[in-house]
Symmetry: C2
Subunit: 267 residues, 2 copies
């Protein structure tokens, strides 16, 4: 790294340290910064997400994404993981940054910018960690558009009753679904919605649930097996009332394990 010659000066380090000592972060007003997590799962052919009932103002009584304010000593990713731990009782799930929402009036309290994350977990794990208390539920997502058209997404109870969403969370849910649909075909994320061992039909069912339409069975099998990320375990399905299918597991590529999240931003 060649330093630009114009920057040469007597004692840069001491100079900078002196500057930092004088710096006052409260000099001008700051917005509030939050993280919200779209914790997605798939069950019975429907996409679902964890919602939490707000018991305080603003939007008291409405349903919101689990979220919280970012602490000064934690990274954004740590904040998202903390929210998942505290509000969903989950650790070690797939989490990725979704989008940052910063409309001026998105929160009536004051200016709140939220960095949204989405997390993927198989339904059994989520149901075990969140046995549907009165304060939280796994809502069914009702996506009123097809493909990656985008737009707000509605939430309802399993019975079909609509849930009133807080703030711009219907929009955030929509962006999450859009992102999932867009990434599903080229990124190894379908597996994250299934247990460690799964059949190809289960995987296809998950893809169809995310995409919102049926996919071709033959080419789906071929693509999955050709990807090299789906390997047979030798075990077979148990309870089926028909020929049991082979159980597979997800085996990451060399190129996996990295996402758009740059390592330096993960800390």
């Amino acid at each position: 790294m060649t330093r630009d010659s114009k920057t040469a000066r007597p004692d840069p380090d001491r100079d900078e340290l002196a500057f930092l000592a004088r710096y006052d972060a409260a000099e001008f007003p700051h917005p509030s910064l939050a993280v919200d997590v779209v914790l997605v799962t798939a069950h019975e052919g429907r996409l679902r997400a964890l919602l939490v009932r707000r018991d305080e103002h603003p939007a008291k009584g409405r349903w919101a994404l689990p979220g919280g304010f970012v602490r000064l000593d934690e990274s954004l990713e740590e904040a998202a993981a903390r929210v998942l731990r505290e509000k969903a009782g989950l650790a070690d799930v797939f989490v990725e940054q979704l989008f940052t929402f910063g409309a001026v009036d998105r929160d009536p309290r004051t200016r709140v910018i939220t960095v949204a994350y989405y997390a993927l977990v198989d339904h059994e794990r989520l149901a075990a960690a969140n046995p549907g208390s009165g304060d939280s539920l796994v809502a069914v997502l009702d996506v009123p558009w097809s493909g990656v058209a985008g737009g707000a997404v509605r939430a309802q109870r399993t019975g079909g009753e609509s849930l009133a969403l807080a703030f711009d969370h219907a929009i955030i849910l929509g962006v999450a679904v859009e992102r999932l649909r867009g990434k599903l075909d080229y990124a190894p994320i379908g597996f994250e919605l299934l247990p460690a061992h799964f059949t190809l039909r289960q995987l296809q069912h998950v893809h169809e649930t995310v995409l919102g339409h049926a996919v071709n069975k033959d080419s789906f099998r071929r693509r999955m097996l050709a990807s090299g990320r789906v390997v047979a375990t030798g075990q077979r399905e148990r309870d089926a009332s028909h020929r049991p299918a082979e159980l597979y597991r997800f085996e990451p590529n060399e190129t996996d394990g990295r996402t758009l999240t740059p390592p330096a931003a993960r800390r």
Copy 2:
């Protein structure tokens, strides 16, 4: 929207207004929130980006992405547009949110989270608006990885001299290049790096510059023409010392004009 029955209470609106009147945003410490813009262009086979020399601490003398703190009365997109206007003299360019960087120690002053945007502009426009003063330059990007492997990106002067980058801006540049490469094949963004009228060869050259490798000419032409987004103008190239090529222009699809940015987040 059916309201959950448990939320019923005497006068919800007045209740919420009273709450908001009491709310104190300064109750707990807030991080600083900035936007940084990766203003990308392509010229002479190289990807380039606008950098600004920092004349204040921290990182004084180093080269940084144009950026600024977000004001309480502007959206994130407005802040990015303002930065482009103030630091690059540009308006009405393609801008899209890239990623939000929030490592605890990414800025030595205090906790600063930055929402990074990338903007695309054709080189002539950028050169006209930014005639390379001492404080800013259009740096050449040296990408030390291929495909979408990701990682830090180096910056240099046109002559080849390395430029010391401030903060985590080498990482941000890397994420921008990774995103560009990932989106180029399915999103109409190559056009944004060219003037309104262009030849197919120019478009191919832009794609090759972004991707960092040669692409097949025949299939490139076919794909572009089949996309329906490239329409002939009837005009032809002028200065060429060979058979002049037809000039085309970009014609958005019905499905274009929308990005991952949800409309509600754009204000």
